[in-house]
Amino acid sequence: MSIEVRIPTILRPFTKDQKAVVATGSTLTALITDLDQQYPGIGDRLLENGALRRFINIYINDEDVRFLGSLEAPIKDGDSVTILPAVAGG
């Protein structure tokens, strides 16, 4: 099973500047684990104390994973995953 993952500019230093990479995993946790094995360090930018970072948005197809079970969100063949840092501040 291979899932296309779109990488935001700020994380492209981890992926040798690739805008999209391929990873595997049947849940978001598994997918992030695989991404971190391929691109060491990227997992830390997505997770904090075992949870999704508050100001990182991850989408499966068009849906925010927070509405799909967060890290437990199921992923199936043909899904596409998009990572976007929140545009936010004070």
Partner: protein, 138 residues
């Protein structure tokens, strides 16, 4: 480094900041990829609805990036307003700045300077803030 922006966009951002006061307002200006020129203003909803915080709604954020990709555009400017403090990036602005290629524009309508409005632009890269000159074209 500098930002060149039309008077119409400056006026529109200031008008939006007044309309949404006392909440912070926010939005983006897009331009053709590689041009660095802001050509299309997209006011965004501040999902935080707060006088001290702003956040693009996550659903709108995805739509925005899809649109940018489909149209061969880039995000040239990310703007928001401060309503009580100067137009300088706050600690949270710096912590969450995720677009190293964008100009971060801040406007301030704090009452100490009323009726004047501050309009300033910065690069925020790896936690380092660099103010840049703003040239307004008529």
């Amino acid at each position: 480094m500098s930002l060149t922006i039309s008077r119409a966009f400056v006026d529109a951002i200031i008008a939006q900041s007044r309309a949404e006061y006392p909440d912070e307002c926010c939005g983006a200006i897009l331009g053709p990829v590689g041009s660095g020129t802001p050509t299309r203003l997209l006011p965004m909803i501040n999902a935080a609805h707060s006088p001290t915080f702003y956040e693009f709604d996550p659903k709108d954020l995805l739509a925005l990036y899809r649109e940018v990709d489909d149209n061969d555009e880039e995000i040239v400017v990310i703007y928001h307003s401060h309503t009580e403090t100067e137009a300088y990036p706050s600690r949270t602005d710096i912590a969450y700045a995720g677009e190293p290629g964008a100009h971060y524009v801040l406007v301030s309508s704090r009452k100490e300077i009323a009726p004047a409005i501050e309009f300033r632009s910065y690069r925020i890269i790896d936690g380092v803030v660099t103010e840049e000159e703003v040239s307004i074209t008529e």
